[in-house]
Structure formats: structure tokens, C-alpha cells
């Protein structure tokens, strides 16, 4: 592999890694703070993609279009959805065992997937990237690199920074961190933990939906798209360390590299490499790269 190609592959790896992080961070957030294992996370990603597809025309007619208007509306809806779901289902689960969380969210997958089929049907759809992001920049002699992919990376980085900021610099973040380590203590401080959790869960869902919406123009929208990302998200969380945003970022990038170069250099084993990586990390550090927190 000649140097320029190698560099481009590194760029691909980075870009893919960031995309993974975008999806997985919501999952690790909900894990880390509420200790709830949410299989339906992939479905939220799927919902996001379909929202991007469905909202675009509506927003177009209402506010005369606007990519970011659509994003905003979608995320707003996601927050509502997350809030309601937490209130309706997940609030039952904190005292329950993980097993029951697994089951309820598993059931949720089936429900959401079928509702999707009922409402928007089973066809494959494309989402057009906004004009000002549709361009490409030349890369190497043949290749060009789509601006939109860079935009995605940008969003991921912004999100990562945002989360870091919220957690380390704001009162809310502080409360959340405290809440994850010791519920009683926080309650005794007179903070409404229930509300706090609802916020966190809504945020987690919102992030997943955002990921879906941002990814939609690049990935297209199709049934069952959520399930394929779910397991990869789990691997990210396991490698990174549950609840660790930094960890999720590091793990995503690591997987990005392994997957990218695996496909090129070891196509035969490409499917297994990521799990091999996880296995090795487990041997080395059962708790993941970064301890929770």
C-alpha cells in the first residue's frame, strides 16, 4: 500500500471511527449513568434515519426547507420520545435485574421495527444531503472525498466536545455523575433523581436519533438498519469501558482502524477482527480501556 493510499485509509478509519462514536456514545451514556442495558438503541438510530427521510419534505413545505431545521425538529421529537419511553417503560427497570431490561428493550425492538413497517413501509429510501455540503474535494489522482463525510466527522467531534463539556464543566453534568455513583446521596441533596434520569435517557435517545439523521444522507435508509449497528455499539462500549465517553471515543477510533485495514489486508477475517480485538482487550483489561466515570 503506497503512502498516499495509506494516508487516505487512515482518514477513512478516523472517519468511520467517529461515526461509530456518534452512535455508541448515547448507548454508553445510558449504561454508565442509569445502568440500563438498552438493546433498542439501534432502533433509535433507525428511527433517526427515517425521521431524516420523512421530515425533510414536511420541513420543506413548512419552513421552506433547511437541513438544520430538520435536524433540530428531529432531535426535539427524539427528546420527547425518549422522555415518554423512560416514563412509560424504563422507569420500571431501575430496580429490576439487567435480564428484564434486556427483555423489555428486546421487545421494544420488535415493536419499533414493525411500527416502522406499518407507518413508512419496507422500501429503501435515499436522503439528499444539503446542497452546501454536497460537494467533494479531490484526494489522490482518481479519488475525491465527499464534503458531507467530513461534515459528519465534524458533528461527531462537536458532540464529543459537548459531552465532555457538560460532564466536566456544568452543574447538570456534576449532578449526573454523582447520580451515577450514588443515587441516595444525590437524592439527599434534594435533587430529583427521577427527573435527572429522564433527562439523561432522553439525551441518550436524542444522540442516537441525531446519529441516524446525520448518517442518513450517507448511508441511505432501509429496514433493519438499526440491528447491524447495535452489536458494534456494544463492542465499542465494552472496549471503551462502560459509561466512559473518552473510552467510547478511543474504542470507536480503534475499531475504525482495525475494520478499515482489516477489510483491505485480511478480507477473509474481516468479519471477526473486531471481536478478536475485543477479546484481546478483555484479556488485557477486563474493565475496558477507561474505567467508568
Amino acid at each position: 500500500m503506497d503512502p498516499p493510499t495509506f494516508l487516505i485509509q487512515c482518514l477513512n478509519a478516523l472517519q468511520y471511527g467517529l461515526l461509530l462514536f456518534l452512535v455508541a456514545s448515547g448507548l454508553t451514556l445510558i449504561f454508565g449513568i442509569m445502568g440500563v442495558i438498552n438493546l433498542a438503541h439501534g432502533s433509535f438510530y433507525m428511527i433517526g434515519a427515517y425521521l431524516a427521510f420523512a421530515l425533510a419534505p414536511i420541513v420543506g413545505s413548512a419552513f421552506g426547507g433547511g437541513f438544520f431545521a430538520t435536524l433540530f425538529l428531529g432531535v426535539a421529537l427524539a427528546v420527547v420520545l425518549g422522555y415518554l419511553l423512560e416514563w412509560a417503560f424504563f422507569s420500571f427497570l431501575y430496580e429490576r435485574e439487567h435480564l428484564q431490561q434486556v427483555l423489555m428493550t428486546y421487545g421494544l425492538i420488535l415493536v419499533l421495527e414493525e411500527l416502522r413497517s406499518l407507518i413508512v413501509g419496507d422500501d429503501v429510501h435515499g436522503v439528499r444531503a444539503p446542497a452546501f455540503l454536497a460537494g467533494t474535494i479531490p484526494l489522490g489522482e482518481l479519488m475525491t472525498y465527499p464534503v458531507y463525510r467530513l461534515f459528519i466527522s465534524g458533528v461527531c467531534l462537536a458532540l464529543a466536545l459537548g459531552m465532555w463539556f457538560v460532564f466536566t464543566r456544568t452543574r447538570l453534568g456534576m449532578m449526573i455523575r454523582a447520580g451515577s455513583t450514588n443515587r441516595e446521596m444525590v437524592q439527599s441533596l434534594g435533587i430529583d433523581i427521577k427527573f435527572l434520569y429522564r433527562v439523561v435517557f432522553a439525551a441518550g435517545v436524542a444522540i442516537a436519533v441525531l446519529a441516524g439523521m446525520v448518517a442518513a444522507p450517507a448511508s441511505s435508509v432501509y429496514p433493519g438498519m438499526g440491528n447491524s449497528v447495535l452489536i458494534l455499539c456494544f463492542v465499542v462500549v465494552v472496549i471503551g469501558g462502560i459509561g466512559s465517553i473518552r473510552g467510547a471515543l478511543a474504542a470507536s477510533l480503534l475499531i475504525g482502524v482495525v475494520d478499515t485495514f482489516g477489510k483491505v489486508l485480511l478480507p477473509q477475517a474481516a468479519g471477526v477482527l473486531v471481536y478478536m480485538l475485543m477479546a484481546m482487550i478483555l484479556v488485557w483489561r477486563p474493565e475496558g480501556l477507561f474505567k467508568p466515570g
Binding site: 493510499t5 413497517s117 422500501d123 482518481l142 472525498y145 477489510k263 474481516a270
Partner: protein
């Protein structure tokens, strides 16, 4: 106290079990003159849309004949196969052993179809495969009572191999998912292409259903082949076409593919698919009276645009009709049914085809070009192409 209640629920459970299991089935005579067709197609999951199209096609033909084939009324029994081969054997047994269907129709997913083929072989039930392209079904797994109304993965690939060679490309890279359909399609392509003196310089693949193509696109750009052949379908096809264009390769390295690359996906692919060349046994703009009639009545009945899957379902029904006609609706005379269907020409919307000794369509493979939202036919890539049916002893 608790014991009684526990025991009671126990009895309830057992009662439920007993209720759910059909008691010894009614005798065949009791079924009357109806012919039971078991439709085993995906109603949920990724392939649900294809399942619907196939079923519509099949029902359309039966409707056109007033709900009767060879004077016998057609009764449908449906099972959702979820495109899950793990459940396939149980599902198909539902149709064979519980509902005693006379004919099996299905399915989309090759793995499921393989399970159906096995069950059909063991039970001797007639099976018509309306999509799944696994070569083995009319190859090593072939059987007198197994027919296919669609294609074998080998066919479009082989046809495209000839085309690409004719168009003067010498070094080609292939790219597909690492699964049977992809391997077989690429295999067909290589066979024809290298026979014609071309060379497949690199075979790229990525695990199914992974859609992160960027690294492989980079690899293609680095290899600089004359052309690229690809097999993708559904969401993967959409993303690949878009990424290929976004990577700036579209203008520079011509992209060829098996027809599914641009079937049912054009709306999603938009301008990025414009001008792509693909091979398939069906195309838009054939403008034969047969096709026009089919499309019109399909669109009228289901308010849906007809597609290749609908055609395959429609032809599956036709094949059943032909066989039934030959035995005047008496499925007892299986041998005659099979012999007749084996010879008969099928007036398909795609163009009349016959069946190979291994019961796979011997059909024209069209070369199509994407124009707007259509796969316009621009010629016949390979006339009356027959799958070699390797490993079949019929």
C-alpha cells in the same frame, strides 16, 4: 394451598398446548377440489417489500384466470418466513405437514429457499422458487419437483462478464458482500470474462451486511482497473452506488453490476445511479404487448409500480398453471406435470422462456441502463442463457 393452584395452572398450560396442536388431520379427500398453494415469503424484516411484490404477482395471474387454474380453485396459505433460515424448516413443515399444501412457493432469501428445497425433496411436494438465486437449488440440490421462475446468481454475472469483455475492458476488480449470492454472481462473471480473455485483478469483499465501503473504494482507486463489477442489493446497493459516485470514481472507472444493484433502489440512489449498466432477466421499456398488459394490470390492481419480483411471482403462477393444464388439474399425476412443465414455453412478461433440464429458466439476460427512474433495456446481453446446473443429475 399453593400446590393446587400450581397444579391447576399446569393443567391450563397443557390444555393450551393441546388446543394449539391440530388433532389428527382431515383426510385428503375431505379437501374437495381446491388446490392449496403455500406461499412462504418474508412479511417482516429486510425483504418484506420483495415478498409483497412476489405475492402480488402470483395472485394477479390467478385473479386474471378468475381464481382458477385448470378449472381448479386456488386457495392460498401464507407463512411469514422472516427471511430466517433457522426457522425455515419448521415454517415449511407447517405448510407441508399441517396445511397439506399441494404446491410450495418461496422464497426470497437463499438460505430459506435451501431449507425449503430440502423439505420439498424429502416430501416430494412441488416447489416453485420465485426469487432466491442460490445456484445449488437448480444445481447440486436439484430435484424433479423443484422449479425456479427467477434466475440463478450465476446468470446475470455470466452475461455481464461477456458484456464487459466485449466493451474492451481487460483488468477488472470485483466487489461484493462476503456471502453465497455475491460469491456465485462474481463467480459467473469471472467465468465468462476470463474465457473472453479478460482478467480479474482483484476480488474485494466485505462482511455482510456491513456497508462501510470507503476503504475498498480507496483500494479500487489505488488499483486503477479498467472497470468494476459488483453485486449488491437493497440498502447496501443504494449506499454503494452513492459512495462510488461520491468517491469520484463514477466518471473515471465504469461500474457494472448484476441487476439488483439498481432494482427497487433507483428512487433512493437518485442521480448517482444515472447511466449505470446492469444485467438482469427483466427490464423497463421492453414494450412487448405481453409486458405492457402485465404492467398495466399490475399497476391498476395494486397501485404499485411492477418490478422484477412481481414478474417472478407472476411467472411462478404461470408455471403452475402450465403444469396443471397438462394434467387437467390432477396433481396426482406428478410425473406428467413435471414432464409437461419441463418442455413448455412460459409466456413471461420478460419474454418467453423455457426451463433447463435442472428446471432453471433458460432466458434472455438484458443489458439495462439507468435512465431517470428506470432500468431501460438497451439490448440483450446474452440470448437464451442457460445455467449450467453444475452437480445436477437430472
Amino acid at each position: 394451598m399453593n400446590r393446587r393452584i400450581v397444579a391447576r395452572t399446569g393443567w391450563l398450560m397443557l390444555a393450551a398446548v393441546a388446543a394449539a396442536l391440530p388433532a389428527p388431520e382431515p383426510s385428503r379427500a375431505a379437501e374437495g377440489a381446491k388446490i392449496k398453494v403455500g406461499l412462504m415469503l418474508p412479511a417482516t424484516g429486510t425483504y418484506a417489500a420483495l415478498g409483497t411484490a412476489i405475492e402480488n404477482g402470483f395472485r394477479l395471474y390467478v385473479q386474471e384466470r378468475g381464481g382458477k387454474l385448470a378449472g381448479r380453485e386456488i386457495e392460498f396459505v401464507r407463512v411469514d418466513d422472516e427471511s430466517d433460515p433457522a426457522k425455515a424448516t419448521d415454517n415449511v413443515n407447517k405448510l407441508i405437514k399441517r396445511d397439506h399444501v399441494d404446491v410450495l412457493v418461496g422464497s426470497v432469501h437463499s438460505g430459506v429457499a435451501m431449507a425449503m428445497a430440502k423439505a420439498a425433496k424429502d416430501s416430494g411436494t412441488l416447489l416453485i422458487v420465485p426469487n432466491a438465486g442460490a445456484d445449488a437449488i437448480t444445481g447440486s440440490m436439484c430435484a424433479p419437483n423443484i422449479f425456479r421462475s427467477s434466475f440463478s446468481n450465476w446468470q446475470p454475472g455470466y452475461a455481464m462478464g461477456e458484456v464487459v469483455a466485449k466493451r474492451g475492458h481487460r483488468n477488472v476488480v470485483t466487489i461484493t458482500w462476503k456471502y453465497a449470492a455475491g460469491d456465485e454472481s462474481v463467480g459467473g462473471f469471472r467465468e465468462a470474462f476470463e474465457k473472453a480473455g479478460g482478467k480479474v485483478v482483484k476480488e474485494l469483499s466485505l462482511p455482510f451486511p456491513n456497508v462501510e465501503f470507503q476503504p475498498l473504494l480507496t483500494e479500487i482507486a489505488a488499483t486503477k482497473p479498467d472497470a468494476v463489477y459488483t453485486f449488491f442489493a437493497g440498502g447496501g446497493a443504494v449506499k454503494f452506488v452513492k459512495d462510488y459516485a461520491a468517491a469520484g470514481l463514477k466518471g473515471k472507472i465504469p461500474l457494472y453490476g448484476a441487476g439488483f444493484l439498481t432494482d427497487g433502489t433507483l428512487e433512493a440512489q437518485g442521480p448517482d445511479a444515472e447511466g449505470l449498466l446492469t444485467t438482469l432477466h427483466y427490464a423497463d421499456g421492453l414494450n412487448t404487448p405481453r409486458d405492457a398488459a402485465f404492467r398495466q394490470s399490475y399497476a391498476k390492481t395494486f397501485k404499485l409500480p411492477p418490478d422484477v419480483y412481481a414478474v417472478q411471482g407472476y411467472d411462478a403462477a404461470q408455471m403452475l398453471a402450465v403444469g396443471l393444464a397438462a394434467v387437467n388439474g390432477d396433481l396426482g399425476r406428478k410425473a406428467e406435470f413435471i414432464a409437461a412443465l419441463g418442455k413448455a414455453p412460459i409466456e413471461s412478461p420478460r419474454a418467453t422462456f423455457t426451463l433447463s433440464p435442472s428446471h432453471n429458466p433458460v432466458q434472455d439476460i438484458y443489458l439495462r441502463q439507468v435512465v431517470g427512474k428506470e432500468n431501460k433495456v438497451i439490448g440483450v446481453a446474452s440470448k437464451a442463457l442457460a445455467d449450467p446446473g453444475r452437480g445436477c443429475k437430472l
